[in-house]
């Protein structure tokens, strides 16, 4: 009977497979998942084209309009509503009244049809974020939305993931501002604020106690 003997080199095969194959493979897989499958990668930088080339840079930046002129529900309701066409027409009835780029706006106003804006900041439907509560506490626009006043086309700058929310809810102190600064895009967080277990509203001194329990956001 002819007996098969493994060649000498075979002794090195298995260790090689482990150290060169499985080892690096696993590491890359783990690292890949923990980075590429998360909002950090998937959501941040999302910048869809909008039906109307509305430039926040022009309006909020160069013209210096206050965010609340258009998003006027932000202090009263959980959502900072996209303004009705009527708001645009307040100015554009006269300003650039016949610019072709505003055709859709004028049509919308004339025919009472909606402009199909594309949602940029999209929190999962089972998470209930409330703009008014955050403004009341002293969290300004730019904290989550970035320098919108420098964005010709709006893009998402924060992951808006649960972990990211929690970071702030656990220690909000560094991002709190005075009510006057809420819409101040240039506002810079004060450097090296010590973690504050009992953060307070800067204007009224009200205890904030941002919820860390589930029903704070999930209903």
């Amino acid at each position: 009977m002819q007996r098969y003997l493994f060649p000498k080199w075979s002794n090195r095969v298995l260790p090689a497979v482990f150290f060169l194959g499985i080892g690096p493979g696993l590491t890359t897989a783990i690292l890949g998942v923990t980075y590429y499958f998360t909002n950090k990668h998937v959501e941040v930088g999302y910048q869809p084209a909008q039906p109307v080339e509305f430039s926040h840079k022009l309006h909020a930046g160069d013209l210096g309009m206050d965010c609340r002129y258009c998003h006027n529900t932000v202090e009263r309701a959980h959502m900072a509503a996209v303004p009705p066409t009527a708001t645009c027409m307040n100015c554009h009835a006269k300003v650039r009244a016949d610019s072709p780029r505003l055709q859709m706006v004028r049509d919308s106003y004339a025919n009472d049809t909606a402009i199909p804006w594309v949602r940029v900041h999209n929190v999962p439907d089972y998470a209930y974020f409330d703009h008014s509560a955050h403004l009341a506490a002293g969290v300004g626009c730019s904290t989550c939305h970035g320098r919108v006043d420098q964005m010709p086309r709006v893009t998402q700058v924060q992951p808006l993931s649960m972990g990211w929310c929690l970071d702030c809810h656990r220690d909000p102190a560094p991002v709190l501002r005075k009510q006057a600064d809420l819409t101040n895009m240039a506002w810079q967080p004060p450097t090296n604020v010590p973690p504050n277990p009992e953060p307070t509203q800067l204007d009224t001194g009200r205890k904030l106690a941002p919820p860390k329990h589930c029903s704070g956001c999930h209903r």
Binding site: S108, W117, P124, T204, R206, G216, R219
Partner: protein, 1016 residues
């Protein structure tokens, strides 16, 4: 936050509707409302998908956990073009309106999210609701979105080719009008339901004026004709009876279910309960006696209930009168002689009763109330009226008020209509609402008569048996989308104002009549005109807006009439009364607790809401007593043939109903609709076939015969006794006064120690107290919860597998002899235990405790092990075995047959955007309406306050409870109502001996029995 509504454009233009629906359908809240769990799936699920497609979808969802480039699909935001006044996206608006119900109207505040009415609450300013609402009002919002509603008018059968536009309908109507005007209106017959709308009355008068030959008839399956007739006999004019039970110490109901189905149920329940609130131990308490054959909600709340066949009930009333006159010197004049024949003993086993009750009544002159059931003959009402008058109750506890609708006997009216139809005198039959073909007395054969009319126009919400026979079908507007007005039983007038433009360019009754008269005024204008005339003057605009805001015209309630008794007439009527003699079994007819007279048959919430007493869902049955069942060798679920001597028979399953009188079969009419939407189809059995002009409420000479068939009866509760467990703890007023804390000392258990230090709840500490003395078991809380929390339906199959999803259920236990037990109710929401057994067993921490002591349930974290439900001692957790919220949403009976999705865009418009719509495979349960708590807290934060004030948060169940039995609030706020109640000696927690530390506690039930009847 109540505002006058923004006025609509042309309500009837289809364009307007579609645009508005788009706006609604595309607002972000709306998007959020649908399919929260699989955001990516939502769009797919909108179209019917096959099982395979669904699997792919699932696959996709799985994939999503991993694929990197896979964002949520692009989502559109469609803002208003011109934002309507007062609308703030994301903030609900509340409008005051009123719902016509049975013999009254219930004032409502309706929550609306960017134009979508989503939730109905009672209007605190309205006398007939006082901030509460009953099951029918709560669930009426579902009818608005009913996918099976008529969405167009038709000439002939309901089918595509017969569709007619609004303009065509108006044209046809006015054409008909002019034709009729030609012959002075002769040949026009208008059939209405018992309506309480001044404007409609005005329109009808207008019709009579312009078309003198026209005749107006009225038909209602259940009416208060006898009440008015009774008071006409007693006082010479037809008056309605409006109760003021808050002033009554002794209440005697002779066959009246005044707390649930008769008169002003919500108001009566509140008044009754107010007489039983025991703030402190020595508080007084009213006493309720009920005499009835079928176990009703009212009967279940009686301190003493006498169970006798319905045929004997009138006799008992008479005997009571006799006893009062003879033994207690109550001056009834000639009546005394008339009722002399009724010796107390004449009626079986009632002698003692009659004496005891009479004594109690006589001892409380002016502070007692004798109430007769709507269905009793006028003579009985007359005698009862006489008694109340003689006792000095009239004007104090029993108010005789002007009747809005004075036209008496509905049976006579519809019989007359049928006569003239048969005689060919009617060429144009206009049916405004209702469903006479289904509900009219069987012996009249309305269907056949209807064919005699050359033109029959049916105006209604849904296609039904009558619509099918009509030559014209005009689709009606739901009351939430129409202008109108209505008077409550006590006369309080409300404006019915729309919350949304008609979804389908539909017509109100007013529009139809206006069309017939060739007018062009909108119902809005008509209603305004009515009240312009009523409350005209310079500041009318102010009054009008005030009325819209408040939901009623202040001071429109009728003053109680000063009445003079006419003993002679009463005596005559009493002598003329023929008491039915026992002859085989008797059959009684009642409105169905799900379908009412049939008009709610397609309302899923009502169909799945268990009957208060039998806990039966998705069905009706012949209710018989244990003795009757044994005598006929029947078990619950046996199908029998029920036949009447006078002819007519019915095949229906029997259900053994404890408390039902022996030899008496209770039938509910309204189920078993033939022409009905997906929900109501094939549900229950039509008992109208046995209901004839000769016996509209009680008929003798029935017999049962077993067919051998069986029928599954889906009950949400299948075990009816407490097994001696201290769940509902009750005692008598007397004993309670001796040991007020009896409930807390009832259970012996070792001291409840914990290995660990307790958590401290510094901030809010939400808690709930449920007063079992006040709870009447009406189920309003269940439906309110269902509407508020987007609770899905599981269908009959689901209930049969005991998979119902109600977050709060009302447990009903019987005590004592199964033939004649007394019943107790126990509403059971999540107990929000501080040491919640459910939390520690969840492997993924999907249910944890909030810093305010809420037992949070996070649907999006739940993976569905169901361990928490197993470990919940109260079994309040509910599992989504299927995709209940989206599959077969229009036909829940099909649930469990796999996900053949039957999605309805209109149905989903009812969803509350502030509550996640749960998907398959997750656990859910009562959250103390955490969305309301959050909204209130955020509102407080906006105002820069740290705490929510007491009363700022109220759960849906507490808000709608007619008797204020449920109290919710912050236990840390010592001043709060809930804290005060929790401190009462009556307060106890069920299964507290397990050291679960329930946050929901109960106030022990106290009854106030009469000694003399006790030793029986």
């Amino acid at each position: 936050m109540k505002r006058a509504p923004y006025t609509y454009g042309q309500d009837l233009s289809g364009k307007q509707y579609w645009r508005s629906l788009d706006e609604l359908a595309e607002t972000p809240e709306f998007k959020e409302a649908l399919e929260r769990e699989f955001p990516d799936g939502a769009s797919e699920l909108l179209d019917p998908v096959t099982r395979r497609a669904f699997m792919n979808l699932m696959g996709a969802t799985v994939g999503l956990a991993g694929l990197t480039a896979c964002r949520r699909p692009e989502e559109k935001i469609l803002p208003y073009s011109k934002r309507p006044e007062d609308v703030v996206e994301g903030m609900p608006l509340y409008y005051a309106t009123a719902m016509p119900f049975a013999g009254t109207a219930i004032g409502l505040l309706v929550e609306s999210h960017t134009g979508r009415p989503t939730k109905i609450e009672g209007n605190p300013r309205h006398a007939d609701s006082l901030g509460a609402a009953n099951v029918y009002a709560q669930s009426s919002v579902l009818d608005l979105y009913d996918p099976d509603r008529l969405t167009s008018s038709y000439e002939g059968k309901v089918s595509v080719e017969n569709k007619r536009t609004a303009e065509q309908v108006k044209a046809a109507l006015s054409a008909r009008g002019t034709a009729l005007k030609g012959k002075g209106g002769t040949g026009l017959a208008i059939l209405t339901e018992a309506h309480r709308s001044p404007t409609l009355a005005r329109q009808l008068d207008e019709v009579k004026k312009q078309l003198p030959g026209a005749k107006v008839y009225r038909w209602d399956a259940f009416s208060r004709d006898n009440v008015r007739e009774g008071s006409r006999i007693a006082f010479g004019r037809p008056l309605d009876v409006s109760l003021a039970l808050e002033n009554a110490k002794v209440i005697v109901s002779v066959g009246s279910d005044f707390m649930h189905t008769e008169g002003s149920p919500v108001k009566n329940a509140r008044a009754f309960a107010s007489g039983r609130k025991l703030a402190e131990a020595n508080a007084e308490m009213n006493r309720l006696y009920v005499v009835e054959s079928h176990y009703t909600v009212t009967g279940s709340n009686a301190d003493h209930r006498l169970r006798i066949p319905a045929r004997d009930v009138p006799a008992f009333a008479m005997a009571l009168a006799r006893e009062l006159a003879t033994a207690h010197g109550v001056n009834l004049g000639d009546v005394t002689g008339a009722v002399d024949a009724y010796k107390p003993e004449l009626v079986e086993k009632t002698g003692k009763w009659a004496r005891a009750v009479a004594k109690d009544l006589a001892a409380n002159r002016g502070t007692s109330a004798l109430i007769a059931g709507d269905s009793l003959p006028p003579a009985v009402h007359a005698v009862v009226a006489a008694v109340n008058h003689a006792l000095g109750n009239a004007g104090k506890t029993v108010n005789y008020v002007k009747a809005v609708d004075e036209s008496s006997d509905g049976v006579a009216s519809i019989s007359a209509l049928v006569q003239s139809l048969k005689a060919g005198e009617v060429d144009t039959l206009l049916i405004l609402g209702g469903n006479p073909v289904f509900t009219a007395p069987a012996d009249l054969d309305f269907a056949a008569a209807m064919d005699k009319a050359a033109v029959s126009i049916f105006h209604g919400l849904q296609e039904n048996e009558t619509a099918q026979k009509a030559k014209w079908v005009v689709h009606a507007s739901h009351y939430l989308e129409s202008w109108g007005d209505v008077r409550a039983l006590d006369g309080t007038a409300s404006v019915v104002q729309p919350l949304v433009a008609p979804l389908y360019a539909s017509f109100t009754e007013l529009d139809v009549l206006e069309g017939l008269l060739g007018g062009t005024r909108s119902s809005h204008e008509l209603v305004r005109a009515t009240w312009q005339a009523e409350k005209g003057g310079v500041d009318f605009e102010k009054n009008w807006r005030r009325a819209l805001h408040d939901g009623l015209f202040a001071g429109t309630a009728y003053a109680p009439e000063a009445v003079e008794a006419k003993p002679a007439d009463v005596a005559a009527a009493a002598r003329a009364l023929v008491v039915q003699k026992a002859d085989g079994l008797e059959v009684t007819f009642h409105p169905d607790s799900h379908a009412w007279d049939g008009k709610y048959a397609n309302n899923g919430w009502l169909q799945e809401m268990p009957d208060p007493m039998t806990k039966l869902t998705w069905d009706n049955a012949a209710f018989i007593s244990k003795a009757t069942a044994d005598a006929n060798g029947l078990r619950s679920g046996d199908v029998v043939t029920l036949s009447l001597k006078g002819g007519g028979s019915l095949t229906i399953p029997v259900l053994i109903a404890p408390g039902q009188a022996d030899d008496s079969v209770a039938l509910t009419v309204g189920q078993g609709r033939k022409v009905v939407g997906g929900v109501g189809k094939g549900v229950g059995f039509d008992a109208y076939g046995l209901r004839k002009t000769t016996g509209m409420s009680v008929v003798q000479g029935a017999s049962l015969s077993k067919t051998g068939g069986r029928h599954d009866l889906a009950q949400t509760q299948t075990h009816h006794v407490m097994e001696g467990r201290p769940l509902v703890r009750e005692t008598t007023l007397e004993k309670y006064r001796q040991t007020p804390n009896f409930a807390q000392t009832m259970v012996q258990h070792p001291p409840l120690l914990s290995l660990f230090d307790d958590f401290k709840y510094e901030g809010h500490k939400w808690g709930m107290v449920i007063d079992l003395t006040s709870c009447i078991g009406c189920n309003a809380c269940m439906v309110a919860c269902q509407a508020e929390n987007n609770i899905p339906l599981v269908g009959k199959k689901g209930v049969l597998m005991s998979r119902e999803m109600h977050w709060i259920r009302v447990d009903r236990y019987y005590e004592g002899d199964i033939g004649d037990p007394h019943a107790v109710f126990q509403p059971l929401p999540c107990q929000q235990c501080e040491n919640a057994p459910c939390e520690q067993v969840c492997p993924v921490a999907a249910t944890t405790h909030s810093s305010e002591g809420l037992n949070d349930m996070v649907y999006n974290r739940c993976i569905g092990t169901r361990y928490c439900a197993n470990n919940c001692p109260y079994k309040v957790r509910r599992f989504n075995f299927f995709n209940y919220s989206t599959d077969n949403i229009t036909n829940p009976k099909e649930l469990g047959k796999g996900p053949e999705v039957n999605w309805s865009t209109t149905r989903e418009m009812q969803f509350n955007p502030n509550v996640t719509v749960r998907a398959r495979g997750v656990m859910e349960k009562c959250t103390y309406c955490v969305q309301r708590i959050q909204e209130a807290k955020i509102a407080a934060k906006r105002e820069q306050q740290e705490r929510v004030k007491d009363g700022a948060v109220v759960t849906a169940c507490a808000q709608t409870c007619p008797t204020e039995a449920i109290i919710f609030g912050d236990l840390n706020d010592k001043g709060s109502r809930v804290a005060k109640h929790a401190a009462s000696p009556r307060d106890y927690g069920i299964l507290a001996e397990l050291n679960t530390r329930p946050r929901t506690t109960y106030q022990a039930k106290i009854r106030n029995p009469n000694k003399e009847l006790e030793q029986a």
